[in-house]
């Protein structure tokens, strides 16, 4: 067993005194992410360079201490929560944009750079970074790589996986390596692609080279209101079937619309059962032609009203409800739990009905606001954590929703990751051998020792225990327990 003092001494040697956080009151900021998971690390390090990251990783490996990478902590699957305690390696001090090369349309950044900051800086060259998680003001590029993050505008252009060219990583085994580079294709096996979405279990990204795109000259946003969700879902399918791939297609259901109206009065048509937000971008001529077709398609599928915004202000107004949906729902219930699942687009309407049935059975209200274009659901389960047993009921309800997604031919996560929360569901999707094959990737990165972000992605694992009770046990052990 390593004592806390030995651990802190080794970390200080690795990254210097000023980069080690150890006081209990300071550690409290690192015990959670965007989920219900909680666990306090023994220490947090704040390296400034890849070499310091490597030194910290090696120190932990030497002492047999678990390591959990962390970006901004906005993750929604518990990925950054140190479930077996140990050391959190934070990228908070690695926030440099190393270069933006307008000729190659490439940016190279440190992992702690916030997603929105990158697009902001790229805008000076008429470029932007397309993947735009709703958390983009805070979440980091490193966290995006780890989760293969998406966002509202990933429908036409793709997700993180489609925009990352190269990653410098400190592997779980403690080496610095580049996966890919600044060129569009990797030389050799695509380990870069395999690392993306590995949820911090294979290593820590210390530099990321990404592809940028020219800012489109024209953008049009349409908002269509439908009496029923099913009609809006049909509209989504028929727009895409016509060969139009909008940059975004977002949907909200009745409960969301009511919450948004009560919260901000954005003026959504009264009584609407669903609102569909469609955004098109590109050349002026293309966008105009397509927006007319989208409008016609929505009306044909039963839209009672279609609004079209062309100016920046009008667009902001249409988006206001979508962007404010989560805070608005916060007024309906003290707590909410976001579920992330994907179903085939053609099953959307049927799945929404099944989710409503799950809600009725559980007695918990579920609001839906989601990336409809790619069938990526985000049911929000509303609850009050002060009610006895609420936590368990919410998790059980979320599990039922996940089950529905899998039964309908979908998957457990479209963008938030498996993390700690869904790993026990993985056998619904994959056989034992499928999972064992996946796990072989750990050997490639030296992560087979089980110290790198343990208790994530894969079911089972030692020292992880039951979710919930595990977190409680870790808390009960107190900040001075052995490592």
């Amino acid at each position: 067993m390593t004592t806390r003092r030995e651990l802190l001494a080794a970390l200080r040697r690795a990254v210097g005194d000023g980069a080690v956080v150890w006081r209990p009151e300071d550690l409290a900021a690192y015990e959670f992410d965007g989920t219900v998971e909680r666990a306090v690390p023994h220490a947090v390090v704040l390296p400034s360079t890849a070499e310091e990251v490597r030194a910290a990783v090696r120190a932990c490996l030497d002492l047999g201490v678990p390591i959990t990478p962390r970006g901004a902590g906005t993750g929604l699957s518990g990925g950054a929560v140190p479930l077996r305690r140990g050391v959190v390696i934070s990228t908070a001090r690695m926030r440099r944009i190393i270069e933006i090369d307008p000729a190659d349309r490439v940016a190279v950044v440190e992992p702690g750079v916030a997603n929105l900051e990158l697009s902001r800086q790229a805008a000076r060259y008429g470029l932007f970074y397309p993947p735009d998680p709703s958390s983009q003001a805070a979440c980091t590029i490193g966290g995006n790589v780890a989760e293969n993050a998406g966002g509202p505008h990933c429908l036409a252009l793709g997700v993180t996986q489609n925009f990352v060219l190269g990653i410098e990583v400190v592997t779980a085994g403690g080496d610095i390596r580049w996966l890919g580079g600044r060129s569009p294709d990797p030389f050799g096996f695509d380990l870069r692609g395999a690392f993306i979405g590995s949820e911090g279990t294979l290593g820590i990204a210390t530099k990321v080279a990404v592809r940028l795109l020219p800012v489109p000259p024209a953008v049009v946003t349409l908002l269509a209101a439908f009496p029923e969700v099913a009609q809006a879902c049909e509209a989504v399918s028929s727009i895409i079937a016509r060969g139009i791939i909008p940059s975004a297609m977002e949907m909200m259901d009745r409960l969301c619309i009511e919450a948004v109206e009560a919260g901000f009065r954005v003026g959504y048509p009264e009584g609407a059962g669903a609102v569909l937000l469609v955004e098109l971008d590109g050349l002026e001529g293309e966008v105009q032609a397509e927006s007319a077709r989208v409008r016609a398609e929505c009306l044909e599928r039963g839209a009672t009203e279609v609004r079209v915004a062309a100016s920046e202000e009008e667009r902001a107004l249409l988006w206001k409800g979508r962007k404010g949906a989560i805070p608005a729902l916060g007024r309906l219930a003290p707590n909410y739990y976001i579920v992330d699942g994907v179903v085939p687009r053609s099953r959307l309407a049927a799945v929404m009905e099944r989710v409503a049935a799950v809600s009725a059975r559980s007695g918990l209200r579920i609001a839906n606001v989601f990336h409809a274009g790619d069938g990526n659901l985000h049911p929000l389960i509303l609850f009050d954590e002060r009610e006895p047993g609420a936590g368990e009921r919410v998790l059980a309800t979320a599990a039922e929703v996940m089950r529905v997604c899998v039964e309908e031919g979908g998957t457990l996560s479209g963008e938030h990751g498996i993390g700690a929360e869904k790993r026990e569901f993985m056998p619904w999707l994959f056989g034992k051998e499928d999972l064992a094959t996946m796990a072989r990737l750990r050997e490639v990165f030296g992560a087979d020792g089980g110290l790198f972000n343990p208790c994530k992605v894969f079911p089972g694992g030692t020292g992880c225990g039951e979710m919930g009770s595990r977190a409680a046990a870790v808390r009960a052990a107190g900040p001075d327990a052995y490592v």
């Binding site: 349309r105 569009p184 030389f187 096996f189 395999a194 080279a209 998957t411 094959t437």
Partner: protein, 389 residues
């Protein structure tokens, strides 16, 4: 692939196997002591090193047949790996959709082979590489078990993305059995090209055209002995904007066979040389200059894909020593940016002089570790890939 005298990068197999079912193929993998080289249409058999040691060539097409399962409303299709790209597209196009896979010689190239060899085509710049089309796949592991990765929906982050690892692995980690791919609506488009004088100018104009907001389906600069052209496939609504950027230049519709030339160049029957380079945009002009010295009859530069390819037919091209110098110079140029150059096709007697892959990348230990993790006994295509993996 024709039966007699088949060679893999100059080496002859001890046998050619043609299993008739997935079960037979899996049994063959399980029981084989020699390394196995899976092959579909055989369009890129000449690429890479000869296998290390005696090997059996396994034509997987009969074993990996079956029908396309198309979900038009979801824009997805599950396609057996042994089916040719053309055959799969024939099924899909009858319903107004298609795969954005356009490898050389799609009438012979199989879907599995296209993914495994990462052979992209003219639509790569707009739609991404073959790996970007894949939503999930099944593959035969080195111990003969069939396993699954990914899924059937268009967005999915459940578990590690092993399909990425299989795509571009050149048959050296597993045999792809079937893949679920994105399908795309067939869209109306116009094919135009502008005379640009030289490749550098073509690259500048391509940059201006895309900076103006055009997202062409195809945007290639081609030099084929009849001038240098910027060839674009555009949505009709994008044409006016393009004409504005290209203002005043001579424009014409694509000559017959242009698309096929851009796609197949380097792999046509009488092509004897083909060198493909991957590099960031800003290195493509200099790359093309060096490639010119190989006296290619056809030079294609695909800026949005960071690709340049030089192809020479029988009567064209250079001697092996000269080719080596050219390839090495290009490698020195692009390597610091993570680029690489592959001698995709050359006469077998050139192999002593010209290294088809070049020096392995700095992270070669990880590539080796991947081979060790997924194919510890070297059962698949041993010796064929980078660094003789």
């Amino acid at each position: 692939m024709s039966e007699a005298g088949v060679v893999v990068a100059g080496a002859a197999p001890v046998s050619v196997e043609r299993p008739g079912s997935l079960a037979e193929l899996a049994a063959l993998v399980r029981g084989s002591r020699e390394t196995l080289v899976p092959v579909g249409g055989g369009t890129v058999l000449g690429l890479g090193y000869a296998p290390a040691g005696p090997f059996r060539l396994v034509d997987v097409r009969d074993a990996l047949g079956g029908a396309v399962e198309h979900q038009p409303d979801d824009l997805t299709a599950t396609v057996p790996a042994g089916m040719t790209v053309d055959a799969a597209n024939a099924v899909l196009r009858a319903r107004g959709q298609e795969l954005k896979l356009d490898p050389p010689l799609p009438s012979r190239a199989t879907v599995g082979g296209t993914l495994a060899a990462a052979m992209a085509g003219p639509q790569r710049g707009r739609y991404g590489a073959p790996r970007d089309q894949v939503l999930g796949l099944t593959f035969i592991r080195a111990d003969g078990d069939v396993v699954r990765a990914g899924g059937r929906v268009v967005k999915n982050v459940a578990g590690f993305d092993l399909s990425r690892l299989l795509c571009g692995s050149f048959g050296s980690l597993g045999i792809i059995v079937a893949a679920t791919l994105r399908t795309w609506p067939v869209r109306e488009a116009v094919d135009v090209e502008w005379q640009v004088g030289d490749i550098g100018t073509g690259l500048d104009l391509a940059a201006r055209l895309t900076a103006a907001g055009a997202r062409p389906e195809v945007l290639d600069i081609v030099e084929d002995g009849h001038g240098t052209w910027l060839a674009a496939r555009l949505s009709p609504a994008a044409l006016p904007a393009a004409e504005q950027v290209l203002g005043g230049r001579e424009a014409r519709p694509w000559p017959p066979g242009r698309f096929e030339q851009l796609r197949d160049g380097g792999f046509r029957d009488d092509d004897v040389l083909s060198v493909r380079v991957t590099a960031p945009w800003s290195l493509l002009a200099r790359t093309a200059e060096v490639l010119e010295r190989a006296r290619p009859g056809l030079l294609v530069v695909r800026p949005l894909a960071g690709m340049a390819r030089a192809a020479a037919r029988r009567q064209e091209g250079v001697a092996s020593r000269e080719l080596r110098g050219i390839v090495e110079e290009v490698r020195r140029l692009v390597r610091p940016a993570g680029g690489f150059a592959v001698a995709e096709r050359m006469p077998d007697r050139y192999r002593a002089d010209v290294d088809p892959w070049g020096e392995p990348p700095e992270s070669f230990d990880l590539l080796r570790a991947a081979k060790a993790a997924f194919d510890p006994e070297g059962r698949f295509s041993r010796g064929r890939f980078i660094g003789g993996i």
